[in-house]
């Protein structure tokens, strides 16, 4: 059905648009005009967007959908539904499913499931090593062919430096991107919080900042050696940010992201053992958070992601160190990003860029913009809506979030994927 979104304020950072326009979408689901309709265009449906923001659908660099293998936590159906309700239309899924995404069949299976569910686009990352064991390389070219947008060992470390070098060299041979969770496993040493004042007070084993900086330093040396294009996932410390900034200045092909929760929380939010704040890498000091925020402004950090990890309730009902790390983050990605605009850190356009075309560019996928002939993946936001996050609003199966009770401004009212309205506020599907 052809469609016009009328009267909204379009924010499309990829095309430098930040002004009121109508958006025209053809029956085949592609954008055919922004501002002016192509000749002969007839809209079969009109969406009134007066007073609202019309943005590209969000692109989330990292979301665990728990399928296959951990369906007791969540399913692709439940999580892609949660995603579109939060304006996210493209997701990247890390390879640490069970079994891991280390064969073309697994990669295809995940994309087909997503296609059949028909809510959000799901792009898998392939495993960098077989079974994520850090020993043998996967068939990267075949996985690339099967739709993997990059390669990662997820949270499993590749401890053998030679294997890491070979993996990067091999990926570079085919111009593939490697996604790195740079952490030195020996320094990490089973820790669960930032090594600092709070960890000391609570008697929780800490992860020193050096676990991250040693990991980043090693990987940067190998990136320089191999010339591979690399992306550092969820940096948490100010010094790691400085190291990546310096590498970028020297012209190394590296990018990096940060999670929405590391931009808002610190070790102090753990309070008295709040397991909802158990995340890896850990929430660090207030100073680290300030540096992460500033790095969004300077461009060192090129994307904000949810690092969505939905859990069943029992996963968090354990003593802190024994609880499972991770936050159910899809539904707070946009609210927490818009909060940075309210806090005057970013302009609206800068904020939207960090969750749309910038992460899309890191993934190398055509998404996150409203250009002519782009898939009409669109998120319409009521910027004035004030609301408070409660558990019963969450569509994700995982209710594990430390943000319950937080107040937000700006709410998604409609989400379109391929020109179809897949979410409309107040209209449950």
């Amino acid at each position: 059905m052809s469609l016009v979104i009328k009267g909204g304020h379009v924010i499309d950072p990829a095309n430098n648009i930040d002004s009121p326009h109508d958006v025209y979408i053809a029956a085949d689901g592609f954008i055919v005009g922004v501002g002016s309709a192509p000749s002969g265009f007839k809209a079969e449906r009109t969406l009134d967007a007066k007073g609202k923001l019309v943005c590209p659908g969000l692109v989330d660099l990292r979301a665990r959908l728990r399928e296959p293998g951990l369906e007791y936590k969540a399913t692709m159906e439940s999580e892609t539904r949660a995603a579109v309700s939060a304006g996210i239309t493209t997701l990247c899924c890390p390879p640490d499913t069970q079994p891991p995404i280390d064969t073309p069949a697994m990669a295809q299976m995940i994309q087909q499931r997503a296609w059949r569910i028909g809510l959000a686009f799901v792009h898998p990352l392939g495993a960098l090593t077989r079974a994520l064991e850090g020993q043998q390389l996967t068939d990267m070219a075949a996985l690339d062919e099967a739709g993997c947008v990059g390669f990662s060992n997820a949270l499993q470390p590749v401890t053998d430096t030679l294997v890491m070098r070979r993996a990067m060299e091999y990926a570079a041979s085919f111009d593939l991107t490697v996604f790195l969770h740079a952490q030195d496993p020996w320094l990490q040493n089973g820790g669960c919080v930032h090594e600092g004042e709070i960890g000391t007070r609570l008697g929780l084993p800490g992860i020193p900042e050096a676990a991250e900086t040693v990991g980043v330093a090693r990987d940067l040396a190998l990136i320089e050696q191999t010339g591979v294009r690399a992306h550092f996932c969820q940096l948490s410390s100010s010094r790691a940010v400085a190291m990546v900034a310096e590498a970028q200045k020297r012209g190394l092909p590296v990018s990096a992201d940060v999670t929405a929760h590391h931009l808002h929380l610190t070790e102090h939010d753990i309070g008295f053992f709040n397991t909802q704040c158990h995340v890896l890498p850990p929430l660090r000091s207030t100073r680290d958070r300030e540096v992460l925020r500033r790095a969004l402004k300077t461009g060192v950090l090129g994307a904000i992601c949810s690092d969505h990890q939905p859990h069943e309730p029992d996963a968090k009902l354990a003593p802190f160190a024994d609880s499972e790390p991770g936050i159910s983050g899809l539904e707070t990605l946009l609210p927490l990003t818009l909060k940075l605009v309210d806090e005057k850190l970013l302009t609206l356009s800068e904020a939207i860029a960090l969750v749309t075309h910038k992460p899309a560019a890191i993934l190398g996928v055509d998404a996150g913009h409203l250009g002519i002939d782009a898939s009409a993946d669109i998120c319409i936001i009521d910027p004035k809506a004030h609301w408070t996050l409660t558990a019963d609003q969450l569509k994700s199966r995982g209710h594990n979030t430390p943000f319950l009770g937080w107040e937000f401004r700006g709410k998604v009212t409609h989400t379109l994927v391929g020109g179809e309205v897949v979410f409309e506020l107040g209209v449950e599907t």
Binding site: E197, T200, R201, L204, G206, P208, A318, F320
Partner: protein
Amino acid sequence: MKQDGRQFDSHGRLRHFLTIEGLPRQTILDILDTAESFIAMGEREIKKVPLLRGKTVVNLFFESSTRTRTTFEIAAKRLSADVININPSLSSTAKGETLLDTVRNLEAMHTDLFVVRHASSGAAYLIAGHVSEHVHIINAGDGRHAHPTQAMLDMFTIRRHKGPFENLRVAIVGDVLHSRVARSEIHALTTLGAAEVRVIAPKTLLPTAVEKLGVHPFTDMRAGLADVDVIMMLRLQRERMTGALIPSEQEYFNLYGLTAEKRAYAKPDVIVMHPGPMNRGLEIDSAVADGPNSVILPQVTNGIAVRMAIMALIMGGTPAAEARRAP
């Protein structure tokens, strides 16, 4: 620092005993005063009072312990409670039951008080957040976090032998990093206004930012012991040797073992304490452990009275505390 409401009920009464951190100074003094009255009772022929008659106390020890569990058991029995000892690491948890499942099952048997020891920091907090309103929790040690009843009996022992805290310089020596005892002692001493609290250990055994807890760190034991009134030794787990934390028992004893020679740097009337069990010849020399300055055995005796006081306070209030509350 965040206020923690979990230890107190809505009327401001102490409901659980989870950590010393955040306890008002007066609450600590109430416990010490109540314990004094129980000390005399322990020396009587009939050592029982009916304060907890008809109550069921479960000693739930996920980590094994002899001394602490026994003193809790004796304390509960002298208060006329029925006591059951459970060591779930050998039973239900081995079958995959979660911590909260174990607790809920025992709660369903109408337990009034759980005394909990667990290897994970925060375990007692978690349990306290998930039991019904009339059930009480005493933390008998959670991971590296807290061992508040041990710290209370240590404060009791210090006060009996040394008097007011304001004039006291206290040194805590050994594996502070892994020690729940040290953390609770530090909170107790700083709350009671000790003149100075020092921690002495190599940097591998001192937690990051330990000075934020209000203590002065020392790596040189002789400098750290200079002019102190109280030496609190910590137990060194022998498995620390394998984690590259210390090079050898010999070097540790030479540098941080408490010998008569090192004790001489402290004040002549210093008291020497140890939470037990001791590693003689590793962290403490027998001549000191059994010497005239040692109060290690009185610590154990005091442990019973102090634990009685804590149980009585959280389960029914004590005359001293109630009198203060009355308008």
